[in-house]
């Protein structure tokens, strides 16, 4: 994936701000001077003002910050649910900041695996069908789809819950279904937004152990959280405050 011999996209000739370096073509994620501005009535609110960082393949990162710090906005941008008002975002050598809705949908489908705080499973669908969903939109044939989805459920130790619906599963099991769904397409990044926010302490630890294992298997993981003990599991912590990176440190 991060093969450095791949043609690197052209570097911008005019740099918007002097301290901003050109994007790092070898990194999986490369954000340069990202701004996100909302208009509230006549007033402009800057949720992010000038965020830059790189994530190499295989890293385990926590993004931490109090509510209102802009970390949710940053997560939406990393996950390609939204586009920046200004700045460049390169994901797996693709310039995501220039894409339209349908192109973004494809990036979300192929490159990003989402894990949400509230699981966001389809209530009426079985675990298997929930996990298959990204493959359906990825255009994968049904027999291959079943195979891949079962494999992903096996990877999260839910091989025996294939035909269960979300309301027949515990919170931890639901989150594991969601993780299987996030993994099934072998995305470039696993993006988790407060993945333990709706779980008890014991189950939270189980889920975090699972993330640790997945990282050990070579997945790039970004966890957005406001809990320090969850963030402490990561290898690198990026602290956001008032729309800016306050601290970016390797802790392991």
């Amino acid at each position: 994936m991060s093969d450095v011999t791949l043609a690197s996209p052209p570097s911008p000739t005019v740099l918007p701000e002097p301290p901003v370096r050109a994007h790092d073509a070898s990194a999986l994620i490369s954000m340069r001077d990202i701004w996100k501005t909302y208009e509230m009535g006549t007033e402009q609110v800057h949720a992010l003002h000038g965020v830059s960082f790189d994530v190499p393949k295989g890293e385990y990162i926590a993004i931490i910050g109090p509510s209102g710090s802009g970390k949710s906005t940053l997560m939406n941008l990393i996950g390609c649910l939204d586009t920046p008002s200004k700045g460049e975002y390169w994901l797996n050598v693709k310039n995501v900041s220039e894409m339209d809705d349908d192109e973004l949908a494809r990036i979300r489908n192929q490159e990003v695996g989402f894990v949400f705080q509230t699981f966001n499973l389809l209530a009426r669908a079985t675990a298997l069908h929930n996990v298959e969903l990204p493959l359906i939109y990825g255009g994968i044939g049904s027999s291959r789809r079943h195979e891949m989805a079962k494999e992903a459920l096996r990877a999260v130790d839910l091989a025996d819950r294939v035909t269960h619906r979300p309301n027949e599963l515990s919170g931890g099991q639901r989150q594991r279904v969601a993780i299987a769904r996030a993994l099934v397409n072998h995305p470039s990044i696993l993006l988790a937004d407060e993945p333990t926010g709706a779980l008890d302490t014991h189950t939270s630890m189980e889920i975090m152990d699972l993330f640790g294992r997945l990282h050990g298997e070579g997945n790039t993981i970004i966890v957005v959280t406001h809990e320090h003990d969850i963030a402490a599991r990561a290898h690198r912590v990026i602290s956001i405050r008032d729309g800016l990176i306050e601290k970016d440190e390797k802790i392991r």
Partner: protein
């Protein structure tokens, strides 16, 4: 940040890159359509099953609309068919020459036609002699008379004087018992007759037709011997076509007077000779009335086919039909609005689901397809039920009034096609709204 609206500042667009990316996407997504369509269909079925009350209400809307259209179309077709077969029983190879048209629509016309000369036997004979395209020809005159047999009596029986016996052929009546009279008998003013089945029924108490042969009926006080009984022709709109008696024209002339104007009937061997025969007869009659070609004044006679009745029926009913079709169409329109309303609710209810689907890679097209398929599925199923209900309704009505039920493949296709069309139209806006939802806002919905 959570409460902020999503009026983001405009993003820069890079059109140059777009087409290349699009082409690559198309290659990658070649298989997507079938899988996503099937997924959309399953999702639609699941959602319809999960909301049974909502689904049945929607179905009802469509069923009523389609059933109304189908019933109306079927009933009108049945009526048209009845009228067409009845009035053209003589077939499309027969036309008539008469003093006045069978249908007169104004008083002025009535006065004009009454000033014409009667069509008499001489006119008929001239036509018989000179018309080479005419295959069969005859004259007929009608009167309504009381008919008696012993103490049984029927008022207002249609007495039809005809000559020659080829007129039976032109009238397309068939003998059930006995025989038609010969031309020799017909020429000698014998008191003989061929009767319709109502006469047997009403005056002879419904005995076997052959037992009436040789017996007498009294028409306007004079006895006539029955030589034949006709096959039943049935009813049209409740009026019997079997309450009639044929007598030879010579006898008719003798007993009911020669003063009334005749109707000359001409039959051609095939329908494509009709026009030529009409031209010949028109020329003959113009000569006899002293008119030249291009004379604008009244021709002095009327030449018409049995189509005039069908035309008149068409004119009389077309406005009624249009109104009926409109009313049925309105109920289908209402059905469409019901579908749209329910689909809007469905989209609002499933905003979260749409958000999830978008987050994991559903494109606008996928969401649009999903909701469109849902709308079309309800509408098509409703349409199918509506078609059956409509035919059921038409069957009951046709049974009560008494006309044939015409079930055509075309009307089935019409019903299902229309309802699917309504489904697409009324599903389009809700589906478009769903497809346009921003994933973040949709995910935030509960």
């Amino acid at each position: 940040m959570q409460r902020l609206g999503y009026n983001e500042t405009p993003r820069q667009s890079f059109a140059s890159k777009g087409s290349a990316v699009l082409a690559r996407l198309r290659r990658t997504f070649r298989f997507l359509r079938v899988a996503a369509l099937w997924e959309a269909f399953l999702v639609a079925l699941g959602s319809l099953r999960a909301n049974k009350l909502r689904t049945s209400l929607t179905l009802m809307g469509i069923v009523v609309g389609v059933a109304a259209v189908i019933a109306v179309v079927t009933i009108i077709k049945g009526l048209d068919k009845t009228v067409a077969t009845t009035f053209s029983s003589q077939g499309s190879t027969v036309f008539t020459v008469s003093k006045r048209p069978r249908v007169i629509t104004s008083r002025e016309d009535f006065i004009k036609f009454n000033k014409r000369k009667d069509v008499v036997l001489d006119d008929a004979e001239a036509i018989f002699r000179a018309c080479t395209w005419c295959w069969r020809a005859g004259v007929a005159a009608n009167t309504a008379e009381p008919v008696k047999h012993k103490d049984q009596k029927s008022e207002n029986v249609n007495v039809r004087g005809i000559t020659p016996s080829a007129m039976f052929d032109i009238d397309a009546v068939n003998i059930d018992a006995g025989r038609f009279w010969t031309d020799n008998e017909g020429a000698t003013a014998h008191e003989i007759c061929v009767v319709g089945t109502d006469i047997v029924q009403n005056l002879f108490g419904g005995i076997a037709p052959d037992r009436t042969l040789g017996q007498n009926v009294s028409i306007a006080g004079r006895p006539y011997q029955i030589v034949g009984v006709l096959q039943a022709q049935g009813k049209i709109f409740g009026a019997s076509r079997d309450n009639l008696i044929y007598i030879p024209y010579s006898t008719y002339q003798k007993n009911f007077g020669a003063h009334s104007s005749l109707v000359v009937f001409v039959k051609t061997a095939s329908a494509d000779q009709l026009e030529e025969a009409e031209d010949q007869v028109r020329t003959i009659m113009r000569n006899r009335r002293g008119k030249t070609f291009g004379d604008d004044s009244d021709e002095g006679f009327t030449l018409e086919t049995s189509d005039v009745f069908i035309d008149l029926y068409g004119k009389a009913t077309s406005n009624i039909y249009i109104v009926t079709y409109l009313v049925a169409g309105v109920s289908l329109f209402v059905g469409g609005i019901v579908v749209m309303n329910i689909m809007l609710v469905s989209v609002t209810e499933r905003t979260k689901e749409i958000g999830i689907r978008k987050a994991i890679g559903a494109r606008r097209k996928d969401i649009l397809t999903q909701f469109l398929i849902e709308a079309v599925t309800v509408a098509a199923v409703g349409g199918a039920i509506g078609v059956l209900t409509g035919f059921g309704l038409a069957y009951v009505i046709s049974f009560l009034i008494g006309f044939p039920l015409l079930v055509s493949v075309a009307s089935v296709l019409l019903g299902v096609g229309m309802s699917s069309f309504v489904g697409v139209i009324s599903g389009l806006w809700p589906a478009w709204r769903a497809a346009r939802l921003h994933p973040i806002e949709a995910l935030r919905a509960e």
